[in-house]
């Protein structure tokens, strides 16, 4: 039992954003019924990483990650004969998640105007790249397009060299994960209201707006005329010597912005000579390019013989915000992640035992976590279609 036990969700989504949203809800105990194309299933079943390089619908690590605890039901939504089944499922659920487009929703009678009349108690959440009415020059897009249409791409990395192309964010699907999280927030809010009013809601998530709202601190200042806009690739930056540095066994990130950081660094480096020429408050008041460059150079030199984890431990104890640049292996070995039990082991019938990323929030009364592996294609056809429908038909008769 968790906070969303008893909530029923119908997932029409077939890409990362909607499936991630559904996953966030199942982590809290919601029952998510995933409709899949008969014999084929969700397109995410055909995206890697694949387990042992077996490229079939039951070996996608992406699908396995996004669909833990869900119920898979095969139903051909293009086929008129499926309509009664679809309507019967719709009548049983509180929430519908979709990540196609406006015409897809309309074809199922789930566009806003129809849904408000036909399904006033239903919460419908649509996730798209630019909203349900994209302009002509944004009809076709992938996650990388949205990332570059939100301001993040042009300004990544910080301190960008204008000779290099603006850069994509981490991994393949960051815009989709962000949008899925936003959708889950909106759906859980709508569920809270529905428990009282009985009313549904129509929620429209635009990935572009989600990403642009994540930079509100800067963008709102720009839009209100309080911060300069321009074509400068460093327009979002903070400057200073902060950044990623190589070390003996990888990379570390160092943030330096205050006198106390500077004093901590002095202790950490054992009061080296070069620091004597810097005013104590230079980070706050006299941060010149020459000083930044010299400081970075000296830190780089010091780090050549440092291990990322031991250096960060020493630095943190002196109040210097130096941290390791971790990779996947570091995370699975991290004592902090182990302490919080972030990774969860599941046994998938085709892929076998593996750890899965869990959730970033620990709730004392209603913990969230993936509990059962993603469903095989059509695994719940009998349970949810044949049995439920014959029951429903008996009632009708």
């Amino acid at each position: 039992m968790s906070a969303l036990s008893g909530v029923k969700v119908l997932e029409l989504a077939e890409s990362v954003s909607g499936e991630y949203c559904g996953k966030l809800l199942t982590d809290f105990g919601a029952q998510v019924i995933k409709l899949e194309k008969p014999g084929k299933g969700s397109p995410t079943r055909y995206l890697g990483p694949f387990s042992n390089d077996i490229r079939d619908e039951e070996n996608s690590g992406l699908f396995a990650y996004l669909n833990t605890d869900k119920y898979s039901v095969e139903l051909d939504l293009d086929c008129a004969e499926s309509q009664p089944t679809f309507l019967s499922l719709l009548a049983q659920v509180d929430v519908v998640i979709d990540d196609h487009n406006a015409s897809f929703l309309a074809s199922l009678g789930l566009n806003r105007s129809c849904a408000e009349k036909q399904h006033p108690n239903l919460i419908i959440c649509s996730i798209t790249n630019y909203g349900l009415e994209p302009p002509a020059d944004r009809k076709h897009s992938e996650d990388i397009n949205v990332f570059h249409n939100s301001g993040w791409g042009y300004h990544t990395p910080s301190g960008a060299d204008p000779a290099f192309a603006p850069l994509n964010g981490a991994g393949r699907f960051l815009p989709s994960y962000e949008a899925g999280l936003e959708a889950a927030l909106c759906i859980s809010s709508a569920l809270y209201e529905k428990a009282d009013s009985g009313l549904g809601n129509f929620i429209e998530i635009s990935k572009q707006e989600v990403l642009a709202s994540r930079i509100d601190y800067v963008l709102a200042q720009m839009i209100s005329g309080d911060m300069n806009v321009g074509t400068d690739r460093t327009a979002f930056d903070l400057g200073g010597p902060a950044g990623i540095f190589p070390c003996e066994d990888g990379y570390v990130y160092i943030w330096l912005s205050t006198v106390s950081h500077w004093e901590g660094l002095r202790q950490l480096l054992d009061n080296p000579e070069w620091m004597a020429n810097f005013p104590n408050n230079w980070l706050e008041k006299e941060c010149t390019p020459e000083r930044v460059s010299l400081c970075r150079q000296q830190i780089t030199e010091w780090l050549t013989t440092q291990n990322k984890h031991t250096a960060s431990e020493q630095a943190q104890k002196l109040g210097v915000t130096l941290v390791a640049v971790n990779n996947a292996q570091d995370l699975i070995r991290s004592p902090q992640y182990q302490h919080r039990q972030f990774f969860v082991e599941l046994n998938h019938p085709h892929m076998g035992k593996s750890v899965y990323p869990g959730v970033p929030y620990l709730l004392s009364k209603t913990p969230a976590r993936p509990r059962t592996p993603a469903p095989l294609l059509g695994q719940h056809n009998t349970e949810l279609l044949t049995e439920k429908l014959s029951n429903a038909l008996e009632v009708t008769e």
Partner: protein
């Protein structure tokens, strides 16, 4: 519970107390306010948030603060005095949610930790936000947004192929962390509605970031593969990149099918590329991606980005300009959808803010800017806590509500 907030929205009637600083915590509060909750920021002259002071002399007109705090209320209570803490506890008794993102151990020192708060308000939903979470072997460590990204695995994946990691823009992380905290908090509200119980929520910034690259971790878990920087490339598509155009502008192109690849070669006036042995299917294009990208760059280089985008979109190709801050602020679509919207400031003027990432059929009104320091003292002390004017004056005289 008295509540004069009638903006509608799914969280209307919910009251949130914010003991927050800078960006992540205030962002959580902003999302809840945008969903209809009444969000009260507890502030004080003695411990002003840096965003109220940064780069300005007028603390009531600080652009950074205004950016992240629209539709909130502000009350002044001195957290460094016992009477102030008592007042905050009284206010918490009249509230549903407490959000804090102070430094590790700070709420305990103040006497506002979960156990203390729970003793006066047993059903409080208490959301605590920390870089590494509330406890554990590394929870003593602190850092800012780019540290969360570095620790989470995010930074190691952002960079040009074959070069050291460069990391996301320095601004990334706080707002995503804030959203994860908001989601967990609202889920707890659902639980509270079912059974009347509150709970403690411990949110980790670093783990919130890791959640944005879950599939990359699956690659390691399943295959022992540690993913590295891919530039603008993807294992699923080729071409998939950002290419130079005239006037130092850049076009982003993602080819998601053999049909669109063929179409791109036509638009490039190089139809022979689609049958070229190096590029005739996805696997070959992926294998020869360096030469593929060079060919596209040398073609795109002489074109105007916006014109090229229009041309490629017409034939079904996923293409767009990499948007600078000018492009973003001038984006017609964001204005049309009222993502940028006007709000009223307390001095009667209007200003423009950044709206939420959603539209909702029955959403909350969002039409007020950020509060002046202590703008809602009278409402909070008088209407919510029922203190007489005389008592309020006493508190002010003792500097408790400064």
């Amino acid at each position: 519970m008295k509540n004069n907030n009638q903006r509608g929205g799914p969280l209307q009637g919910v009251r949130v107390i914010e003991l927050t600083k800078v960006w992540a915590g205030p962002y959580t509060g902003k999302l809840l306010a945008f969903l209809g909750a009444e969000v009260i920021r507890v502030e004080s002259e003695k411990s002003l948030d840096i965003t109220r002071c940064y780069g300005v002399s007028d603390i009531n007109n600080a652009p950074g603060f205004k950016a992240v705090n629209p539709e909130k209320l502000s009350v002044q209570i001195d957290m460094k005095s016992d009477k102030g803490i008592d007042l905050i506890l009284d206010l918490i008794k009249e509230s549903d949610i407490l959000i804090e993102n102070l430094r590790p151990g700070a709420v305990k020192r103040l006497g506002l930790d979960y156990e203390t708060v729970k003793s006066v308000k047993p059903d409080i939903i208490y959301t605590s936000m920390g870089m590494y979470g509330n406890d554990g072997p590394l929870s003593y460590q602190t850092g800012y947004a780019p540290c969360f990204a570095a620790l989470s695995g995010i930074s190691s994946l952002v960079g040009y192929e074959g070069l050291p990691p460069a990391g996301m823009n320095v601004r990334y992380a706080d707002s995503t962390f804030g959203t994860a905290a908001a989601f967990a908090t609202v889920v707890a509200l659902n639980h509270h509605r079912q059974c009347g119980k509150g709970q403690f929520i411990d949110v980790s910034a670093v783990e919130s970031m890791t959640s944005m690259i879950g599939d990359s971790l699956m690659d390691f878990a399943l295959n022992g593969n540690i993913q590295t920087c891919q530039g603008n490339r993807s294992i699923d598509m080729a071409p998939h990149g950002v290419y130079p155009c005239q006037n130092d502008e850049w076009i982003c192109i993602a080819i998601n099918s053999e049909e669109t690849w063929k179409e791109l070669t036509l638009q490039m006036n190089q139809p022979q590329l689609s049958t070229d042995n190096r590029f005739s299917d996805f696997t070959k294009r992926k294998h020869n991606e360096d030469s593929l990208d060079e060919l596209i760059s040398s073609w795109s280089n002489s074109h105007d980005a916006a014109t090229l985008v229009e041309q490629l979109q017409t034939v079904g190709i996923a293409a767009n300009k990499s948007m600078s801050s000018v492009d973003l602020v001038a984006d017609h679509h964001l204005w049309t959808r009222e993502f940028y919207r006007e709000v009223k400031e307390s001095n009667g003027s209007t200003s423009t803010i950044v709206g939420p990432g959603w539209k909702m059929a029955r959403g909350a009104k969002i039409d007020h800017g950020a509060p002046r320091l202590g703008e809602h003292n009278a409402y909070v002390f008088g209407d919510i806590l029922g203190l007489s004017e005389e008592k309020q004056q006493q508190l002010a005289d003792h500097g408790i509500t400064k």
